[in-house]
Symmetry: C2
Subunit: 153 residues, 2 copies
């Protein structure tokens, strides 16, 4: 049976998406780089700073960050070296490790959050305007819903 190839419009939209996402991520990383962290590091700071008692279990954090267990271990290694996060074993379940935001980590968060928010605003939200932002959320909401419906985590 013949393949249903992409129309001109579909091809254009898809290529626009693939290429712009790449460029966008590169720029967002570059805006954060002078402060010594990556977007991955920043996401860790965000989740921990919003968590109760500024700490999360490794496995929960891995789920939130969409990282494999080993990926999170290595990412935290770097952040521990930088003094932003501390590991602490859990008394009630000695399998789990707490990833705990340190005061230095909170300072870093407060330092870079305005930078990153400004970066997202400048490169994404401003060019789109309120209507475009709404469309962005709708589009990826639908894509995400479909993905999770097909592959229930």
């Amino acid at each position: 049976m013949a393949t249903d190839w992409l129309s001109e419009a579909e091809q254009h939209s898809w290529r626009n998406f693939i290429m712009s996402v790449h460029d966008l991520m590169t720029v967002l990383e570059a805006d954060l780089a002078p402060y010594g962290l990556t977007m991955g590091d920043y996401e860790v700071l965000v989740w921990l700073s919003e968590a109760e008692q500024s700490r999360m279990r490794m496995c929960d954090l891995a789920g939130a960050l969409q990282l494999s267990p080993s990926g999170l271990t290595r990412r935290l290694d770097g952040m521990v070296r930088n003094g932003w996060v501390e590991r602490a074993s859990c008394a009630s379940d000695r399998r789990v490790m707490w990833a705990h935001l340190t005061p230095a980590g909170l300072d870093k968060m407060n330092e870079v959050a305005p930078i990153h928010v400004g970066s997202v605003r400048r490169h994404v939200l401003d060019p789109l305007g309120p209507v475009g932002v709404q469309q962005l959320g709708d589009v990826f909401g639908r894509i995400g819903d479909r993905l999770h419906a097909a592959q229930p985590a």
Copy 2:
């Protein structure tokens, strides 16, 4: 001066985007994996098969694929090992290397193109519908335009 933090709606759209893009790329890679190639490999096949005489200069290909020179060298290494691409030096400018699609590479392209197109249709285009696809193209067209306006390549 106070930071202009994200509104609820902005935060929601942005998170939807970040997380769904991650999941989407993972699924697209997974759909291609059984055929022995990555999305990166697939992009190489697409560009070469559309190129005149099925070949491109390394530097042009790197630009098209948004890859660094070294990144392209390594990616082609793998594809040469698989017999999909051949390197050929250029007679008129001995600095340049041609990346040339082989018959086996074209076969592979014809084999996997329907798979990948079906994957994109299933995970992206179908859930969005014509209007959504148009919005996707618009949104990333605007983001891409702004990026290139600010940082002329």
